[in-house]
Symmetry: D2
Subunit: 280 residues, 4 copies
């Protein structure tokens, strides 16, 4: 159990009437409790708040006239993850998965698991089934990619990344998701905040469905999984952009951070075997 | 209002234990009533039936041991579409769309609307908003593609199709969906049965969200929209494959057809202005 | 006839022994006479100079130890283009083209004419054959692309550009070349200098083979074709990079310009019908 | 030294005036002597014969009116390859390669060595330089691809193949060429005939430039390199199609074979270490 403060400040130059959809609010789930949160808009505007989709992602919708828009979100979140011993976590069979999970076996915009299935099967098909196989996939991604800001853009797919071998957090997650789906493990993208992320920013990581539960993984090893705060989940990054705009506005400033508010030590994400952490 | 008989016979050679997920059953919605249906399996097996996702797609799941598997689905369906005058159907604004519709603006595996947005905007951005704009997109797709069985495969995307200018029903639908999303109109893929389709097969078409409702379009013009029977919907064909397999089985025969059981004349899909038909 | 001064200054930080291949020297051809040229290297190094390939592209090869390398090339060039009336220039038939020209009908790395042939044929297949058809292709490229520095990179192909509708000179040339090949007109890439280019830089344009000769076109319309100085030609930009490195070195400065040394007025590249200019 | 009979019979239905460019004639080089050859056309037509490009590829050009066209090519060829001990063959340095070889380091239509350079370098960058490194690349390709007729088409690239892991001879050669270029070894495509190929057809293989010479490799291991008869070479298959057509004609029959005329045993291509064979 740990308490985490998250904070996102965004500033836009809005040039004509623009509809914004923000996905920046921390989720409220069984294992992630929102203790306190605040969304401040300047100028003062009303934001509609929705919960959409099967996973209850939250969306703030705003219609904004030309101005300089400031969006400031803060929250204090308590994480009470379900932690298991990795060796005790196996895989679910397709014949027994809950039907709503099956959709996370399908290929998606950035995770073309149909194209990479043979590759995934060759590399990871023979490994023992379970948590350790997903861990092996994430380790492979970590070892074979170089974390290189600017090397990819918003249209880069996991197939591109597998060839070019560079990317950022979103690309690491997309490739790991694709390889999981390729060997028959449902996997999905999680957008969120991460304690200690350098440089501070929104973070992208992933969940794999194992033994009836979603388990967290971060193939970048930039942050401990026990310090990850969920905003929302989707098939890939296309579903959980922090901001989607219809109109004309330019992001001119972004400051994001997360820190522990209760000074408990989080483990080093690159050392030893991680625990099996589930917060979904 | 019309009554339609649909029928799908599938035969597989199952070589080892295989999990099948079938999406072949006609949907039961406000405007599409299932009067009678029957699923016959040979050998006798029990199929689990699920309704998944926000749209309630139906899935039959079977675990099958090595054998020759025959799957026979029949249904009689009554369609009571909501039909409007095309000229009275406008577009919804992003600021007012129901939040669950917004996901159909996102790019997906086969509909890379992010890549084609500029093209869509250049070609269709200046057209009057509404039903006629989606119709113009479908007409463009119909005119610029050649319907060529075998010219595409299961990994072909709308970007591929826009370049190569050939495809089948699924490719026509993907391209029209992508262009709609590119100009800000939510659009989704519909798998189904079509009266009078030549050669008979499962069919793929699309829906666009206009004026608060989903409207049907078939850019192939191979069947009248009022003769389309819905199986399920998804972001693109990745979500509504008629069969998904885990294991090893080979499809050795497929017979699909749909016919009107009440002998009412359906309009010629290539002539005149179609009505605005909604069955979602 | 006009005289043009060209100038390229390059500065590299060389971090380990590096082999450089430079293609920056102005070509000497029947219609482009090198009056004077000079290559200065700092530190003093010997450069091997080669003429390679059927077109006699020039290459300077250097082996450089760690240092700060300055490369300065200057030349004075006299252009005596063969200028025809556009209406008198038709197309060559495949049955009569010189065999060495046929290779410029093949698809290449950045010009996937196989993929775009149907598109090319649909858009330009019915136009009258000849100079005006290539001009129509270049006009189409000019009108449908936005010149946007930074929107593409060194792996961007003409298929990418046709979809995304943005690019720089190299992308404009690649797309025009691809569309020419798609309708059966041999076309190739030309790297060179351009009088009056803003911002000043190396330039990329193209040649199409018409009526037994190579004719110059610049689909960016950033410079008059009569002010284009040839460095070398190739199937696409892959063949005529201004520098190719084996080793480790970083370009830290680049200054390129071309200007007329005889004050003759060049025509405005965006106005009126251009003449048919051949300097190959 | 061995003598080989090659034979290609092609039959076309020619529907309108069509220009054919055939590349089916065995090359005459220092190490491959044409003892006898014959091209028979039915109906009787004159074919122009050209030698094009730096490598002297041979081309037969025919203009054919509507008819049923039969093309029959036969030749008897003597191979006198230059055979070295693999361990004695090293790599050439970029600083010393003949300039005309450098072009085979550039990416091409089907061999996107720019995209795969990082992958190539990671997998093969640390291996000892020389013949054994190219052999290791060919072995990797042989082991990681499945030879699956129909799994690829004429637009499939080496990047596609690296992901999907299936292909035919042309795809094997493209991938091996790309990986060679990726680690700085010039490599090119060779179209030809192969003794004992099953099923009999034209064959595609490759050459790598090592120690000042072009060495033959066949990553499919379907035929011994000492039984390969060269037709022509190019950057990739785009340059050496056996037939290129302008007009309208359909290939309705193709029979190709090659056999030894002097009954000498060729080695098993999948066993032991191959010799280093050069016939260029």
């Amino acid at each position: 159990m740990s308490k985490i403060d998250v904070h996102a400040d965004l500033k836009y130059e809005v040039r004509c009437e623009t509809v914004f959809l923000f996905q920046i609010a921390a989720a409220h789930t069984e294992h992630q409790t929102l203790i306190w949160e605040q969304l401040v808009l300047e100028p003062k505007l009303e934001a509609e708040r929705y919960h959409v989709g099967l996973e209850g992602n939250q969306l703030h919708r705003l219609v904004v006239q030309p101005c300089e828009l400031k969006v400031s979100y803060q929250a204090n979140v308590e994480l009470a993850p379900n932690v298991n011993r990795p060796t005790s976590v196996g895989e679910s069979n397709t014949s027994q998965m809950p039907p709503e999970v099956l959709t996370y076996l399908n290929p998606s915009r950035y995770c073309q698991s149909d194209l990479l299935a043979r590759f995934a099967f060759e590399e990871f098909g023979q490994l023992p089934r379970g948590f350790s196989r997903v861990q092996a996939i994430c380790d492979w991604v970590f070892e074979h990619l170089d974390y290189t800001p600017g090397s990819t853009n918003s249209s880069t797919t996991s197939a591109d990344v597998l060839l070019q071998r560079t990317g950022v957090c979103r690309d690491y997650a997309h490739l790991a998701i694709t390889l999981c789906r390729g060997v028959g493990i449902p996997a999905r993208y999680v957008a969120g905040y991460a304690v200690g992320l350098q440089p501070p920013d929104f973070h992208g990581f992933m969940e794999a469905f194992l033994d009836g539960q979603w388990y967290l993984f971060d193939p970048t090893k930039l942050a401990p999984v026990s310090g990850l705060v969920r905003i929302g989940v989707g098939r890939d990054a296309a579903d959980v952009s922090f901001a989607t705009l219809t109109g004309d506005a330019v992001l001119i400033d972004k400051t994001v951070w997360a820190s522990q508010s209760d000074y408990q030590n989080l483990p080093d994400p690159q050392s030893g075997g991680p625990p099996a952490v589930s917060t979904a």
